[in-house]
Symmetry: D2
Subunit: 259 residues, 4 copies
C-alpha cells in the first residue's frame, strides 16, 4: 500500500507544527500524589521536514492511547514528547493536555468538605537535544468586590465572580515541588475572597464580609498575583490574565501582564 504521506515535497517549507487536535482521552493525572482520571482534550503536534509531504498522524494517536494506561506526572510529559520525536522521526514535538482537576475545599466556618473544579493545562515543547519547556495553565475562580463602588455608595458594593488565567513556565525540569493545588491556593488568595462549592449560612456571612473588607479592582488582583508569582522559586516566566464578570455590566473588566 502506497505511503502517500511519505512522498517528497518540493515546496521547501518546513512546517512548525502538524498533528491532531481535539482528541479526547481518559488520562490519569498525578498531581503531588493525588491521582485523578480526567477527560483530557489534547493537541499533539510535531514539526514536519521541508522535504516530506505529510506526517503520520495515527502514530500520534497511538502514543496518546498508550498513555491512558498509567498515571501521568508533569515529568512524564517529556517522555510523551521523546516518544513522538522517535516514532515520527522529527526534531520537534509539542503537546497541550487540557482537563478539569478537582481540588478539595473546606467551607470557612462550618468546615464542610467539597470539591472545586479547576481548568488546567499541561503544555510541553521539546526540541531534539534540549530539555522540555513546560507550561502549567490554570484557570482559578474567586470573588472580587469593587473598591470604587464600596467607597461611593452609602451601602453595599458590587461584586462578582472572577477568574485568573495563569500560564506558568518553569526554569528547570525539576517538577517535584510543582503542584496544581498549591498554585490554585496561591492564586485564589489574591481575590477579594475565596469561593466554595458548598456554603452554609455561617460560611456565606463569612465570605460576604471577607470580600467587603478586602475590596480590589481587577488591577489590584492582577498585581497581587504578579507579586505572589514572583515569590515562586523556579518560575522562568509567567503570563497572567484576570477577568471580572461585572455584576453591573453585561461585559467584563480585564487585566493582563507577563514577565
Amino acid at each position: 500500500m502506497i505511503d502517500v504521506q511519505n512522498q517528497p515535497d518540493e515546496r521547501g517549507i518546513k512546517i512548525h507544527q502538524t498533528g491532531v487536535t481535539r482528541v479526547h482521552l481518559p488520562f490519569l493525572i498525578s498531581d503531588a500524589g493525588n491521582v485523578q482520571q480526567v477527560a483530557a482534550q489534547i493537541r499533539f503536534t510535531v514539526a514536519l521536514a521541508a522535504n516530506l509531504r505529510g506526517t503520520h498522524m495515527s502514530r500520534l494517536t497511538e502514543i496518546l492511547t498508550e498513555w491512558t494506561q498509567r498515571p501521568l506526572t508533569i515529568s512524564d510529559v517529556e517522555k510523551i514528547l521523546l516518544d513522538a520525536l522517535d516514532k515520527l522521526s522529527t526534531d520537534f514535538a509539542a503537546i497541550t493536555i487540557a482537563f478539569k482537576f478537582f481540588v478539595k475545599k473546606f467551607s470557612p466556618v462550618s468546615l464542610k468538605p467539597s470539591l472545586s473544579a479547576v481548568d488546567c493545562e499541561f503544555s510541553g515543547e521539546l526540541s531534539r537535544g534540549s530539555r522540555m519547556k513546560f507550561t502549567l495553565g490554570l484557570n482559578v475562580p474567586f470573588t472580587s468586590l469593587c473598591p470604587c463602588s464600596k467607597e461611593i455608595s452609602d451601602c453595599g458594593a458590587h461584586n462578582q465572580r472572577s477568574i485568573c488565567r495563569a500560564k506558568l513556565t518553569f526554569a528547570n525540569n525539576d517538577f517535584d515541588n510543582v503542584s496544581i493545588e498549591k498554585f490554585v491556593r496561591l492564586i485564589e488568595a489574591q481575590g477579594s475572597a475565596e469561593i466554595f462549592p458548598l456554603l452554609k449560612r455561617e460560611d456565606e456571612k463569612f465570605v460576604t464580609e471577607a470580600a467587603y473588607h478586602n475590596a480590589k479592582f481587577v488591577e489590584d488582583i492582577l498585581r497581587d498575583v504578579v507579586i505572589a508569582l514572583r515569590g515562586v522559586e523556579n518560575l522562568s516566566s509567567f503570563a497572567v490574565e484576570c477577568e471580572n464578570f461585572e455584576s453591573i455590566h453585561n461585559h467584563n473588566a480585564f487585566a493582563a501582564h507577563e514577565e
Copy 2:
C-alpha cells in the same frame, strides 16, 4: 441528472423535521420600526412525507437568501414558512432565527446613551391550513443581590450578573404591539437592578444602592417575571428561566417555570 432525494422510501416513517441548521445570514430585523442588520443563525426545517427519501435542502437556503434583501418583521416569519410549504411541497415548516439585537439605554443618573446587546430568537411553526405559532425568545441580563447574604452579614451582600431566558408564545397573530425592546424593559425591571454598558461614577453609586435596597433571590426574580408576563395581554403561554452567576460559588443558582 437523477433526483436521488425524490426517490421513493419504503420505511414508512414520516420525518417531523428535516432541513438546514447553523446557517449564518445577514437579516434586517424590524422591531417596532427599529431596523437593524443582524448576523442571524438559522435553523429551517420541513416535514418529510413517509414515501419520500429526502428533502431539497438547497431550496431552503434559496428562500433564506431571498429574505436577506428586505426588513423582516415577526409577521414576515409566516411568509417565509408559507414559502417553504409551497416550494418544498410539504405540510409543515419551522424556523428559528437567532440574533443579537441592540437596545438603547441611558445610564440612570448621567443619562449617557449606550447600546445593550440582547440575544433574541424568532421561532415560527406552520402547519398547512393553520396560522403560524410564533415564539419570541429573549435573554435579558440584570443584576441580582442575595437577601440572605444581606440579612446575615454585618456589611455588604453578594451580588452578581443574572440572566432571564424567556420564551413567549402569542395567542393570535396580531404582532403589532409585540416589541423586543418592550419585553426587555419589562423583564430587566424584575432584577435587583438594571445593568448598563456605560456607567459614570454617579451611575455606579445609583446601581449599587438600588440593588442593595432591592435584594432578591433567583426565585423572587422568577416569580416577579411570571407576574409581569401574566399581565401581558396576548400571550398564550410562556416559559421562563432565571440564572444567577453566583459570586460566591463557581456554579449558578437557577429557577424555571412555565405556564
Copy 3:
C-alpha cells in the same frame, strides 16, 4: 441566624424547578460494570411550594458531594432524587448529569484498540409517590456519505462527520440491560460508516470504502436509527436528531424525529 429562604411568600406561585446548575463534580459512573471517573456537569433542582420564598440550595450541593464517593448506576439516580425530596421537603426533584464516557473501539482491520469519547447525559425526574422517569442522552458520532453526490458525480462523493443526539426514555425502572456502550454501538451502526480514534492505512481504506458503499442522507440515517430504537424492548419514548457537518457547505444538514 435568620433563615431568609424559609420566609413565607405571598405571590402564590409554585415554582416548578429551582436549584443549582453548572456544578462540576467528579462522579464515578458505572455502566454495565464499567466504572469510569468523569468530570460531570450537573443541574439539580426541586419544586418550591407556593408559600415558601426560597429553597436551600446548599443542601443540593451537599447531596451531590456525598455522591462523589461511590459508583453511580442509573438506578442510583433515583436515590439521589429521593434524598432531595427528603432533605428539601419537596414533592418533585430533577437532575441532569452530563459527562464524557469512553467506549473501547478496535480499528476494523488492524484491530488496534483505542478509546472513543461519547457525550452522555443521565436525566431523572421524580414526583413524590411515583417512580423516577429516566432519560439517557447520547451524542454518537459517525461518518455520512451523500447518495446524491455519489450518484451525480463521475468520481468521489462528499462525506463528513455526523452526530446523532438521542434521548431515550425507559418504560419501567429495570435498568439492568441498559448500557451506554450498547446504545452507542446500535446508533453508530446506522451511519454510512463507523469512525475511530485510531486508524492505520488498511483501516482507512476500509472505512473509506465502507462509507462509499453505504451512501445515506441525513434522513436515511435518522429513519434507520428510528427503526433500530423501535426494536429496543423497554423504551417508552425517544427523541432523535441527526446532524451532518456538510463538507460542501459551512452549515449543517439536520433531521429530527420523536415518538
Copy 4:
C-alpha cells in the same frame, strides 16, 4: 465623589493591558467600500502606569459607543487607539474587534448568488509616538479531500469541512488595498475545493469532482496558503493554522506555521 481609580499605587508594577472585554456593539465595518452592520465583540485595553491604582474603564466604553455611529475602516482603528491614548492618559492602547462579515458567492455552475459568513478580527496596537501595528484575523472555510484515502481506496475518498485561521500583520499603514474579501478568496482557493451556502445539483457535482481531483493533506493546504501569502506585497508577518474536521475520526487534523 472620590476617584478611587486615581489613587496612587505603591506596588511598582506597570500593567501591560487593562480594560474591558466581551463588549458587544453594533459596528459599521467598511471593507473596500462594502459597509456592513455587524454585531462586534470587542476587547479594548490600555497600559496602566505603575503609580496608578486603576484605569477609567467607562471612558473606554464611551469611546467605543461613539464609534457605533459611523463606518469603521482599518485605518480608523488607529483613530480609536489615539483616542484611548488621549482620554486615558496612557502610552499604549490595544483593541480587538471580532465580527462576522458576509462575502457574496456565486455557485460554480448555476451561478446562484448567496452569502458566506467569515469570522473576522481587526486587531490594533498603538504605542505613543509610533504607528499602529494592525493584524487582520480571518477564519476561512473550505473542503479538503485526503490524498492517502483516495490513493489506497478502490472508490471514494474521505473529505470534510476545513478551516484556515490566518492572522495577517501589515508592513506599513497603507490599508488601501487590504480587503477581507480579497484575502478570503486567496485563502479558500488553497483548499481541495471552495464551499458555498447554496448549491444546486449541477453545482454539487462540480464541487464533489473538483475536490476529488485536487486531493490535499492539511499540510498541503497549509503550505499552499503560505506560498499564497508570501506573494502578498505589504505583509510584514503572518501566522496560519489549518484544521480538518476529519470525517473518519472524532478529532481533527491540524497544521500551523508562521513567518
